[in-house]
Structures are given as C-alpha cells and as structure tokens.
Symmetry: C2
Subunit: 197 residues, 2 copies
C-alpha cells in the first residue's frame, strides 16, 4: 500500500505545473505561482522534485504523453487516409490558449535545456509520422495524387495548425484556426479531384 497523501500532494503539484506551463510557458512560471495554485508548501516542492527543471520536465513529459495519445486516437482510427487527415484538421481547438507543447517552442528555458525540448520534439516527430502515414493511405486510396511528398505534406499539415495558434493568439482571433484548416481541407480536395484522369 503506497502513501496516499504523498501521491496527492505530488499529483497536485504536477497538475498545477501542467496548467501554469500551458498558460505562461516554463520561463514565466515561478515556484511561488506553483505553490499558490497547488496549495502545497515549499518543503513539499523541493522534496518531490529536483528544482525547476525537474517539475518542468515532468510536466512536459506528461503533456507529451497526453497529446500523443490524442493524436493516436484521431489518426489511427477508421476510416484511414483523407478522412483521418480531416479528423486531425477538424479537432476542436482553442487558438487563443495555444498548443500545450507548440507554445513552448520559443520559451527561453526550453530553448536553453534540451531535457525540456526533447519530449516536445518527440511528440512532433510522432505526429508527423502519423500524418505521413495517413497521407500515404490517401494516395493509395486515390484521394491524393501519386506524386505527393508524404513527409513534406505531413510537415505542412502539422505547421498549419501550429501556425494558426500563432496568428490566432497574435490577432486575438479564435476563428483563425477554423479558417486555416478549412482552406487546407479545400486544397486537399481540389488536389485530389484531379487524380485518376
């Protein structure tokens, strides 16, 4: 039987770290903010984690696991190919909150510490692999031209979502995400319309 109270305080700290990093990034999240939001005391923080890099890394790793599971769910399901790509583009997203991992790409603390950047890189690598697979399925099913560069298109699909987070937040316009992904779907359909002729 494990110690329940330990698990609780540690979990609360990690939950608060995930929330705060989403809202403010790593560099702008301070130990004080973490203690206030979690309700834990300073002693607990340094008991459970090895400094700021410690809890930041654990939070990022946990979020990466969550987003990876979501991506698997969306893209590995049926039907495969173009419908899977459409499911990815049409996922509900709040452009103003930002991608929980993508918004960290230019965080000074993340740039300076490869231990923090690596889980983020891993998530995007996985996402691009899934998207490239969906593109190849689409080509196989005649939904996209045979000349399609799957790796490049996967990068563009990933980028258009991440970019809409950026322009949406910069312009304080949550509709940017819907517009950008709608245009992407239209392009894919128009490109696919010419196949087989």
């Amino acid at each position: 039987m494990y110690n329940m109270s330990e698990t609780d305080t540690r979990s609360r700290l990690l939950w608060a770290a995930k929330e705060l990093i989403w809202e403010y990034g790593v560099a702008a999240t301070s130990p004080g903010m973490l203690l206030r939001r979690s309700g834990a005391g300073q002693g607990s923080l340094y008991h459970f984690f090895d400094g700021k890099a410690g809890w930041a890394r654990e939070a990022i790793v946990a979020v990466a696991a969550e987003l990876t599971a979501e991506a698997d769910e969306t893209l590995a399901g049926e039907p495969a190919g173009l419908p899977a790509i459409e499911r990815y583009l049409q996922r509900p997203r709040n452009a103003l909150l930002g991608c929980r991992l993508g918004r960290l790409a230019f965080d000074p603390d993340v740039i300076a510490d490869d231990q923090l950047r690596a889980p983020i890189a891993g998530y995007f690598a996985h996402l691009r692999r899934l998207l490239a697979g969906a593109v190849r399925d689409a080509v196989r099913q005649g939904e996209l031209p045979a000349s399609t560069d799957a790796r490049a298109l996967a990068e563009a699909l990933c980028a258009v979502v991440q970019g809409a987070y950026v322009t949406g937040r910069a312009s304080d316009d949550a509709a940017a995400m819907r517009r950008a992904t709608k245009a992407m779907r239209a392009l894919l359909h128009a490109a696919g319309a010419g196949v087989g002729r």
Copy 2:
C-alpha cells in the same frame, strides 16, 4: 542641428532591444541585458525610454514596419497571383531563429499588454490582406479554382510559415520550413491543375 550623440545612444539601445527580443522574447529580456549589449549606461536607458514597456513597444513597432515593408516588396511585385504566393512561400527563412513577430505571440509580457500585441496583430492583418489579394489575382488568372475562399487560404498560407517556425524550432530542424512550404506549393499547383475543365 540635432544632437548626434543622443541619436547614437538611443539608436544603439533600440537596435539592442530589437536583437534581444528576437532572441529571447520580451519577458526574458532584462534591462541589464539591454545595457550590456548596447554599451549604454542605466541613466541613458531611463532617459530615452519610459520603462520596459517603452523600449519593448518601440522595438516591436520598428520590427513590424520592417516586416511590413518586406511583405509589400514580395507580394506587391510582378508577376501577381500564384507567382507572388510562391515568392512569399520561398523567401529565405531561418526556422530556428523564428519569426521576429510570430515568436512573440505567446510571450507573457506581450499577452498581458495590448500596447505590445497591437503592432504584431497589425502586421499579420496586413500580411493576410496582401496574401488574400494575391489569391484573388490567382483565381482571376485561372491559377486557382473559382470556389477558393481567399481569406481562408491567406490565413493558411500565413499559418504554414508560422507553424514551420514552431515545429522547426521544437525539433531543432531548419529544414522543416522548406518541407512545409514545398508541400504547400505542390498543393496549390495540384488544386490549380483542375481549373477550366
């Protein structure tokens, strides 16, 4: 005749602010860093600028003007339409450095101060207008389908570039930009191939 030494010190401070904000964002750039890089003294900083929000805003406004001029040059030139869009996508960019304005979208200081966010929003609004104009030209010239939603496609074109900065930096992979924009060009050509039949 204006005071040359004043102009010099002020210019050096502003130049340093633009550089540092590009490298670290606003929140992570401190007065101390600014003084070290510019070589100016503390007194000069507070003589010429009204606190951090002051020099940060001036730097952002200046960068927005520079990027706006670049966009005008690229997109307003000849030939118009799809070639203009291609020129935009193929501009030389360093994905690892990031967009000088887009990288600020999730900066805590920028999010918290509309005076800092407004020039960034203005730049992106201008860029989207230019891109939407190029898309309409392309439709008129038969390079894209008549059904094309110019505003949405402009958003997607803007987003794919901004997103490639994000995934490129996160994955420490400067080639992400070339891949994403290449896929976008291929999609545009494939979509345009079906026009007029």
